[in-house]
Amino acid sequence: MIWAMDIAAPAILVRDLHKSYGDVHAVRGIDFDVARGEVFGLLGPNGAGKTTTVEVLEGYRERTSGIVSVLGHDPGSRPRALRERVGIVLQDSGTYRHATVRELVTHWAGFYPAPRDVDEVIDLAGLRESEDVLTRRLSGGQARRLDFALALIGDPELIFLDEPTTGFDPAARRAAWDTIRALAELGKTVLLTTHYLDEAQALCDRVAIIKDGRILAVGAPAQLGVGATSRYRVSWRDHDGSLVTRETDDPTALLHQLTSAALARGMGLTDLSVTRPSLEDVYLELTASGGAMEGEPAR
């Protein structure tokens, strides 16, 4: 029974989390769950409270109030049993500069009760060619791969990735995305933060859009575009040649009108398109009008 409950329970549960630093309210009451095996993204501009939220879940920061559960533990007390099951990629963290990649991954393996194979992790992180390079000689992209390798060596169930590709060139980003997808295929739960929309769209099963310490919307990237406030956007070229765009909740009726009018005139409808707002539209709308959205419930 306990086993069954364990499977059903979310990997991460957050209820009414608040975190203040003195007078600064970095996180102002957020709620979300991350299911086991899910890739969940916290998406928002810089200073939105993403890192603070993740660092509370990682056990680096004490929350001011609220309920937080990570793999059934309270991360605030930093139990070792939890740290053995979690891998963390911080936004920016150094390591022993005079050790080689292989030495470090091997050393890190010793921290965990059931580590993965060192070679396997070096391959997974794409570090095979640089395994004997001193870490101080690694490029930025390679250093990030080492961050991944050190986070994965303990064979964690849950992986935190805080802005995993910030500052990467496009090729390095793709490589990091492939690694994250590989983690998802292994059944790992991933919580990542990002301020890149395409990253959230490409990787996440679900995304929470966060701004000023509040969650503005949660859902699958495709679903977020068709939330309550979202409409279909229909555009076409009018008989005088100008492009007309209209937003509607019911495109069927509008299209029917348009097409019958066009048929009646005996002229085709040119440049007709029906689009749903993309995640980008929703994100820009939500984060631009943060003030107006504040009163609305996030859940």
């Binding site: 680096y60 053995e84 911080l90 022993y96 500069r97 005079h98 010793g110 921290f111 050190l150 303990g154």
Partner: protein
């Protein structure tokens, strides 16, 4: 299963390996006191009285440099680089990590004391230590005192670029007024008064008794007491101010 002791040992081994791969750390922690010993030994080679002051003085300085200076700079570096924060997120127990780091510093101290003692006997006419127990007691007290003060100081240093300035602003004046290079009894009274409040002069007095004069430990209980009071203060400040990550901004 990885016991805390085994993890401490692994961490210690890693620290040793990293230490020897970093030439500048090895130089400042290890060779500099030995260079001082040879230079001052050569300068004072005509006077056994002076050599008897220099050898325990350099021994005291070695304890301070391998623990106080090295740990203060090391902690600032590890904190600023995010190494401490990264380790904090692993199952490695804090005690195993800090234990490994401390054992590494103590190894440097022991090796240096051994070299200073050996050189004192072989080249500087000081002879073998007269009271080994006294030597061990004072070395241990000195290590605990200066290691904890070094960690405590690291909390006050804002970033690694300024760490050498902070450390040397304390280390250099303290070794000069504490009679590392001359008999502190010859210093002006106001400097002697300042030095008397600090632990190094008392550590050197104890080491001098153990290595040169053979005065029993019982005669140097007040010296030991001063070192231990500083050790208690150091431990209190080291633990109280401890942070795993750099301050922001």
């Amino acid at each position: 299963m990885t016991s805390a002791l085994a993890l401490t040992w692994r961490q210690y081994r890693l620290e040793r390996k990293m230490f020897w791969r970093n030439p500048s750390a090895a130089f400042f922690n290890f060779l500099l006191p030995l260079i001082f010993l040879s230079l001052f030994g050569a300068i004072f080679s005509g006077s056994q009285k002076n050599l008897d002051v220099i050898v325990p003085g350099i021994a005291g300085m070695s304890i301070m440099s391998t623990t106080f200076s090295a740990l203060a700079m090391n902690m600032v570096f590890l904190r600023e680089q995010g190494v401490l924060k990264r380790l904090r997120g692993t199952p490695l127990p804090s005690g195993a990590y800090l234990g490994g780091l401390a054992a590494h510093a103590v190894t440097n101290t022991v090796v240096q004391i051994a070299i200073v003692v050996g050189a004192g006997a072989a080249f500087f006419g000081v002879g073998m230590p007269k009271d080994w127990l006294e030597l061990i007691v004072f070395t241990t007290a000195g290590v605990v005192c200066f290691a904890s003060l070094g960690v405590a100081l690291s909390h006050a240093i804002p970033n690694f670029d300024s760490a050498p300035a902070y450390v040397n602003a304390i280390f250099l004046p303290v070794i000069f007024i504490s009679g590392v290079f001359y008999d502190a009894g010859n210093a002006p009274a106001f400097l002697r008064d300042i030095a008397e409040v600090l632990p190094l002069i008392h550590l050197i007095d104890g080491l001098s008794a153990a290595m040169v004069t053979g005065a029993p430990l019982a005669d140097h209980v007040p010296d030991l007491a001063v070192v231990l009071v500083w050790a208690a203060l150091g431990i209190f400040l080291a633990v109280r101010g401890f942070s795993w990550e750099a301050r922001r901004g």
